[in-house]
């Protein structure tokens, strides 16, 4: 009988630990996220997507902004996965690189703007929870994650663009396309 009781206690302990973790998540993370998300969502609705469209469309022309400002604004305003629809304003040959830059920012954005990708918060938050448990503030990690993310998506955009153009040239598609235009 005692063994059975001990087993049962051990079994329950597994889930009690989980329950405590859940309470910590719900009381520690959820209230902040709800208020922050509501604020950012309201702001986006007030500014309106059209205004952001105009600005971002212009910015697709230059390499530097195409892989930084445009994807970041698209993600903050439209969230994942609708941000990828913004690829329609990008020139055809830059679309794969634009996608790569945009998708690579869907997690770095969550440190500061969790509303943009509510279903994938734990890439950042899982690690951030550990940093917080060690007694550090999260602001610095969130800001640096965001900034390094910017640098990384710019490099990814440029490198993927080069690889795509190389693959396309090797495939001989460029010539046929141009011939078609003439």
């Amino acid at each position: 009988m005692e063994t059975v009781a001990a087993l049962a206690n051990g079994f329950m302990a597994l889930f009690k630990a989980g329950g405590e973790t859940f309470t910590a998540f719900v009381t520690g993370i959820i209230p902040l996220i709800i208020v922050l998300m509501t604020a950012v969502n309201s702001l986006i609705k007030l500014i309106g997507e059209e205004r952001f469209y105009k600005l971002a469309k212009k910015a697709t022309r230059y390499t530097l902004t195409r892989y930084t400002v445009v994807p970041v604004l698209a993600i903050i305003f439209m969230g994942s996965p609708m941000c990828f629809t913004f690829g329609q304003f990008v020139e055809e040959k830059y679309k794969p690189a634009f996608y790569d830059a945009a998708v690579s920012f869907v997690h770095p954005v969550t440190g500061l703007f969790p509303h943009a990708n509510g279903s994938e918060l734990f890439v950042y938050m899982g690690i951030a929870a550990g940093v917080q448990a060690m007694g550090y503030e999260l602001g610095e990690l969130a800001v640096r994650y965001f900034l390094v993310g910017l640098v990384v998506i710019l490099l990814r955009g440029i490198i993927t663009e080069k690889i795509y153009l190389y693959l396309r040239a090797r495939d001989g598609r460029q010539e046929t396309k141009e011939a078609g235009h003439v």
């Binding site: 009690k16 998300m37 969502n41 609708m82 640096r144």
Partner: protein, 331 residues
């Protein structure tokens, strides 16, 4: 010879039944499941006399797609196609969820579909499905009319008090809508993931698996070469699309690394490079879908997928190096 079939949901599924009516212009079953054509897509194509296509390696114009077969765990893909009004068949038991949940309706989406839930359609259900399509068109027309009437009303002149009142009303409505959207996301996406992560963490911490992880994974995640290896493995072109869906793996690994940081097994200054190391595969499973959302041509998708996957092998470890350099001076 084309045959119409009915796709019903499985025991744990949601939505449907969908009636697929193949025609000469519209008979392609596109499998967007990462790693070849899903057997279910083959079976459906075989039954209806259509053609099964791997949406990952070749892109299909939307007008030719009869239905898509996906294996989405409930974050993004499951809503993308219903939003485009394309019939969507999910092999996993996932209901209305993810960022685009509101577009997933029973007339466009069905889940937990197995070969046993497929059936040939009889004449009456084909008629019913065709009728329903017409209904949808009629509803759209009605909505159009209503919009025109509203617009006409709005253009009438109003006095200043009414206008202020309406403006305030609109602003308050926007705040309220923002709040409702937030609560929706919290309940549908954030809380379920927290429940899942809490359960895993609880079991790991209380059962002693945590010590095992601390001895095996922590040394790798707690050093620069280790992190570079992790990012490289995540970015290998035939592994990255498998690790991608819903970022579930990245999220679980992130939580594990966080737990190890909390226990002091991984130095806290590795938090930033680790964030990039465990995420080298981000979106690698989603390239064809993301590109088609951006209205890319099918040829662009064909070469765009390998371009992104090859690029990650280079930029995955590169991102870790940049993050490592950028974390100097933090904590």
């Amino acid at each position: 010879m084309y045959k119409s079939i009915i796709v019903r949901r499985g025991s744990g599924g949601w939505g449907g039944p969908l009636t697929l009516i193949p025609t000469a212009e519209k008979h392609k079953i596109v499998s967007i499941t990462g790693g070849g054509i899903h057997p279910l897509a083959l079976k459906i194509a075989d039954m209806c006399g259509g053609e099964a296509i791997d949406g990952f390696s070749s892109a299909v114009p939307e007008a030719e797609i009869l239905a898509v077969v996906i294996d989405c765990g409930g974050t993004a893909r499951c809503g993308v196609y219903p939003k485009k009004k394309i019939l969507t068949i999910n092999v996993l038991p996932v209901g209305q969820s993810g960022a685009l949940a509101k577009f997933m309706t029973p007339d466009l989406y069905v889940s937990d579909v197995k070969e046993t839930t497929l059936d040939y359609a009889d004449e009456s259900s084909v008629q019913a499905a065709l009728l329903q399509q017409e209904d949808v068109d009629a509803v759209h027309k009605r909505k159009d009319l209503k919009r025109k009437i509203d617009a006409a009303r709005a253009s009438q002149k109003r006095n200043i008090v009414t206008r202020i009142g309406i403006t305030i009303g609109q602003v308050v409505n926007k705040f309220y809508a923002a709040g409702r959207e937030t609560i929706d996301v919290t309940i549908k996406n954030i809380l379920p993931f927290m429940a899942f992560v809490s359960m895993i963490l609880g079991i790991i911490n209380a059962s002693g698996i945590g010590n095992f992880i601390a001895e095996t994974i922590s040394p790798a995640a707690g050093s620069l070469p280790g992190l570079l290896v992790i990012s490289f493995v995540c970015a290998i072109p035939f592994i990255s699309p498998i690790l991608g869906p819903g970022a579930v793996i990245a999220q679980v690994v992130g939580t594990l690394v966080g737990a190890e940081i909390a226990l002091g097994h991984i130095p806290v200054q590795y938090a930033l490079p680790a964030l990039f190391a465990i995420d080298a595969q981000v979106g690698a499973d989603f390239v064809p879908v993301g590109l088609s959302l951006g209205e890319a041509e099918p040829e662009t998708v064909e070469l765009g997928v390998p371009a992104v996957l090859y690029s990650r092998v280079l930029t995955g470890p590169l991102a870790v190096l940049i993050a490592y350099a950028a974390s100097i001076g933090m904590y």
